[in-house]
Symmetry: C3
Subunit: 152 residues, 3 copies
């Protein structure tokens, strides 16, 4: 089954790809690796999802925010690659979580994006990953994620 | 001398490789690069080493924690590659240090893993590196390290 | 126009390349990718630029600090590659900003390095990028940047 069909089956609608507002781009391909910029979470209302885990955001809300970042990253890759079936492997994911000083469960938040990638890409979606706690993120977003994919 | 022999000579015992508890994996190889997940420190008692530099952990304890992360990373690479002699170069290391707001000596902590890699791999162990301060890390661990190695 | 000539035209003087004080190196090349270590900002006086955005440093000062990190990274690449014209693409930039808990404008700081790379390298300077907020950085520097470039 194609990835597009799989997204449909899962009821996932891609977003309008993020547009950088400065001298950088959302993806760069070098050889058969594509590096993405850090992406933030976008809610159903099209607005950034802001909040801090351990302060004013629950783990479940953080998980959903991370999932929305994943949808945004897939949207960006669709725009960059044309066809998502060109993705051979999700290689690496780094999840930067907006974190209170005493919040300890960053992995449960970043699972939102990891689970999505495996739902969508199957075994090709299984990635190496880091999950870490940030004192703050741009605009107060709840989580920022960057990734590397291998394409054919 | 083989890397296994070198580890023996140094009296370093590999750990049981880390097992992800979610939809990610400890390593992904793409071409001749292997990307690892972020790893945390494990003490001689098999438990995670928790603490924050500048709050309740000394630089020496942080250094030893970082060294134990390095042993864990080598253990993971041994499991993934079968033979550690396949490693041609440690390319990149990022050391995320659990840091009080006024702690300034993250490099001395991350030296624990850098020194280990040069002890074990010699010139092939010399890597590009970043060392940064995190407001918090998963489970309250003292340091998290991710790496990239080149294999033949 | 060669990159060296372009630097001259822009009035940019390269710095003495950073010298690691531990068991790591400033760059590692693997295949046609060069990974750099995290670099900090150096002022006209040759001293590290210290400060925290949102605490004791303005966005404009942070932007200039990030720009100086970019000049340091180019200086390191010149020393590693011999000829900056070997750079085919700036692939990835990660900007770690020393950030107060309520500082939200990390991208405006990291623009200092992004703008520089596009000024110097043109379209080849356009990179994927992440900008994040750190509770603290080594020695209290204002910003730390690591990068990946593709070389021929």
């Amino acid at each position: 089954m194609s990835i597009e069909k799989r997204l449909e089956e899962l009821g996932i609608q891609l977003q309008t790809p993020a547009q950088p507002v400065a001298n950088y781009v959302t993806t760069v391909q070098t050889g058969n690796l594509v590096f993405t910029s850090g992406h933030g979470p976008i809610g159903d209302d099209g607005q950034q999802i802001k909040g801090q885990l351990g302060t004013d955001m629950s783990i479940e809300a953080g998980y959903q925010a991370a999932r929305s970042v994943g949808i945004g990253l897939i949207s960006t890759l669709k725009a960059a690659l044309g066809d998502l079936d060109r993705i051979q492997r999700v290689v690496k994911v780094v999840g930067f979580v907006n974190s209170a000083a005493d919040f300890l469960d960053h992995p449960s938040v970043v699972n939102g994006v990891s689970d999505l990638f495996v739902e969508v890409f199957g075994d090709k979606g299984k990635h190496a990953r880091s999950a870490v706690g940030m004192v703050q993120l741009p605009g107060g977003i709840a989580v920022e994620v960057e990734m590397i994919v291998e394409v054919e």
